[in-house]
């Protein structure tokens, strides 16, 4: 019986053979591999990458996209990237901050495969780094929140207190204070980028303690926005502008990543053989976009926020000295401006933020 089955299986393989040959005739010019730490349907970080890469696959001829979701930030990620390379991938996007080591390890073993990693660190010959400069952009969000709040208490949920997240919080508070000197930002850390139950409880805690506008830096804003919306609060989204669909009443505005133009440039450079590994950080107008405003935002607030966003796109940075942190220590001296590659170095909260870094 087993021999009969083997025979039948062999016949099937023969039948499929010509089909495979036909497919090989339309071989893609470039196979892109992407690994995500969560699900692409998260209305957030992972979705922003998925949306951009599917856009690239549509815009650039001959691109095939391989994706793997829920890849843990462990050496397991290396295994998945290796298997994508075996399937012919020549451009890999390890899309989470925690894939730094695994991505670089695989890059060292395959010098003919190119990598683009969202984070920091030095580029290698086949390993570029990039990120959206969200920190200055949160200043505009702070302006929106500072104007919309009635309790002068803004809430912020942080997943893990990395430098970039602290920078986002600081810019948010600075922006809020610029239009509302009484505004304070309360920070709650959940301890992980994607712990839904904790995020719901954190949002509830912020609302219980009097905040009426909540922003966040977690992988998916969905749970927080829904919790805040259910209790009648206002929300500012992050990671993906699509999140506004979750809060028809309380949405103020938000930030989302628009990676597609940059990714298209990278894909074309790999196809043309002209890949250059760089560290690229772009802000509003390029990699970061401001989401449309919600129905409750009055036109004068919209004008203020749009003006702030335009200033930032022109190069304004909110991190200009003198700046004191919330313990009273001076962190930026008079006349000094923090540069964009220092955005990952924050280890303090600016005065006005209620929270403890560690």
């Amino acid at each position: 019986m087993w021999n009969k089955l083997r025979f039948i299986a062999g016949c099937f393989a023969l039948m499929l053979g010509p089909a495979v040959d036909a497919a090989a005739a339309d071989a893609p010019r470039l196979i892109i591999g992407a690994i995500y730490v969560g699900s692409v349907n998260d209305y957030g970080y992972n979705r922003s990458f998925h949306d951009a890469l599917t856009q690239v696959a549509k815009d650039v001829a001959g691109v095939k996209l391989l994706e793997a979701e829920n890849v843990p930030e462990t050496p397991e990620a290396e295994r998945i990237m290796e298997s994508m390379i075996q399937q012919g991938a020549r451009l890999i996007f390890p899309t989470s901050f925690g894939y730094n080591d695994s991505g670089r390890n695989v890059a060292r073993r395959h010098r003919d495969v190119y990598f683009e990693y969202p984070g920091d660190g030095d580029p290698m010959t086949n390993f570029g780094v990039f990120f959206g400069a969200t920190q200055p952009a949160w200043y505009a969000m702070g302006v929106a929140a500072g104007k919309m709040t009635r309790t002068n208490k803004l809430g912020y949920v942080v997943g893990l207190p990395i430098g970039y997240a602290l920078g986002n919080v600081n810019a948010f508070e600075i922006g809020a204070k610029s239009v509302n000197p009484k505004a304070k930002t309360v920070v709650v850390v959940t301890g992980g980028w994607s712990d839904k139950a904790k995020e719901a409880a954190a949002a509830n805690a912020l609302l219980d303690q009097g905040c009426d506008v909540v922003g966040m830096h977690v992988d998916s804003p969905a749970t927080i926005i829904q919790t805040v919306e259910a209790r009648g609060g206002m929300s500012i989204g992050f990671q993906s502008v699509e999140a506004r669909a979750l809060a028809p009443k309380g949405w103020i505005t938000g930030l989302g990543f628009t990676w597609a133009p940059f990714f298209t440039e990278i894909a074309n450079s790999v196809i043309d053989g002209k890949f250059r590994a760089r560290a690229v950080y772009q802000g509003i107008g390029k990699m970061v976009a401001v989401a449309p405003f919600g129905p409750s935002v009055p036109p004068d607030v919209q004008k203020l926020v749009t003006a702030a966003a335009a200033e930032i796109a022109d190069g304004f940075t909110p991190f200009t000295g003198p700046m004191i942190d919330n313990q009273g220590i001076e962190r930026i001296p008079y006349g000094v401006k923090m540069s964009s590659d220092q955005m990952g170095t924050f280890h303090w909260y600016v005065d006005g933020v209620i929270g403890k870094v560690q």
């Binding site: 699900s39 979705r47 829920n70 409880a201 509830n204 219980d208 749970t223 259910a230 979750l246 403890k356």
Partner: protein, 306 residues
């Protein structure tokens, strides 16, 4: 400690504690029959994912809730078949069930990640909502599972300690050989206890996805199954004490976040660890009576007939 902090912690404790209480009650039923189910985490996840998936597909959170309970019951019955009929080692089978639950829940839930549902409807009696301090919080604004949490705990206590079936189940847990000699069907009783416990565990998982977070993501229970197992011991296998345990742990988790929201000077990393530290301390202080309070044959396979 001011009123908003205390109320906030209480509100958070009740919300977080609901799923913990149902999970603890479910595990208590099984352990009272002598079966320790280490796979509780997997059963919670199966309940959460099936409940969410069915709620998305049918558009009704109620049907999702029912499906979650059924799925939890089936998962426990499968476990029951392994440990009762096939007489497999309970600890190993429980861990296998846990991993099975991880995989099945991820498989079932994957197509529905990111789907938006209405969730279980919340309801608060209007006279309570008008009380000062209460109106702005989540206090007393609960869905059906939270409203019924304490009544269900009382029901489980009553069934275990005031009915003949409950007596038979407890006898099976203390000494199946004696129960068998007295004419009880040990296997049937264990299946029934596990099935009922699975229903409750399925509801516990569903509360997470259909009410607390309104979403599904892999491993979203975050270790609650294991906390529930510790709570079973803390409550000395007694459903009414489980209420206190669930409130305590739910409160610890809520306190951690409320303190941060209040601007406490304690490190957020330390606060993150606090609920688990509390569980350890509580077990150290009150878990010592485990020898005396545990069902006599907990974890032991019965090799007699039927």
């Amino acid at each position: 400690m001011t009123t908003p902090l205390v109320l906030g912690v209480l509100a958070g404790a009740i919300l977080s504690g609901t799923s913990l209480l149902y999970a603890t009650l479910g595990e208590t039923l099984g352990e009272r029959a002598g079966i320790v189910n280490l796979g509780l985490e997997g059963v919670l996840l199966i309940g959460a994912s099936v409940g969410f998936a069915v709620a998305v597909v049918t558009g009704s959170a109620w049907i999702g809730l029912g499906a979650a309970a059924l799925a939890g019951g089936l998962a426990n019955l499968l476990f029951g078949w392994l440990v009762v009929s096939r007489r497999a080692n309970q600890l190993a089978s429980g861990l296998a069930l846990m991993f099975f639950g991880f995989g099945v829940s991820a498989l079932v839930g994957a197509p529905y990640v990111g789907a938006v549902i209405g969730g279980l409807a919340k309801w608060r009696p209007s006279w309570l909502g008008r009380l000062p301090w209460v109106g702005a919080t989540t206090l007393f604004n609960y869905d059906v599972l939270t409203w019924l949490a304490v009544p269900v705990a009382v029901l489980v206590w009553w069934v275990l300690f005031r009915t003949r079936w409950g007596l038979a189940v407890r006898a099976t847990g203390e000494s199946p050989a004696v129960a068998f000699a007295a004419g009880r069907n040990v296997s049937a009783l264990r299946y029934q206890a596990l099935g009922a416990g699975g229903l409750l565990a399925g509801l516990a998982g569903a509360h997470l996805s259909l009410s607390l977070t309104l979403t599904w993501s892999e491993f979203m229970t975050g270790g609650r199954g294991f906390i529930a197992m510790a709570l079973v011991i803390f409550s000395k296998w007694h459903p009414l004490r489980a209420i206190a345990g669930a409130l305590l742990f739910g409160g610890a988790e809520a306190l951690e976040l409320q303190l941060q929201a209040r601007g406490s000077d304690i490190s957020p990393f330390f606060l993150d660890m606090a609920p688990y530290l509390l569980t350890l301390l509580v077990l150290l202080a009150w878990g010592g009576a485990g020898r005396v309070a545990a069902p006599g044959s907990l974890g032991r396979t019965f090799y007699g007939a039927n």
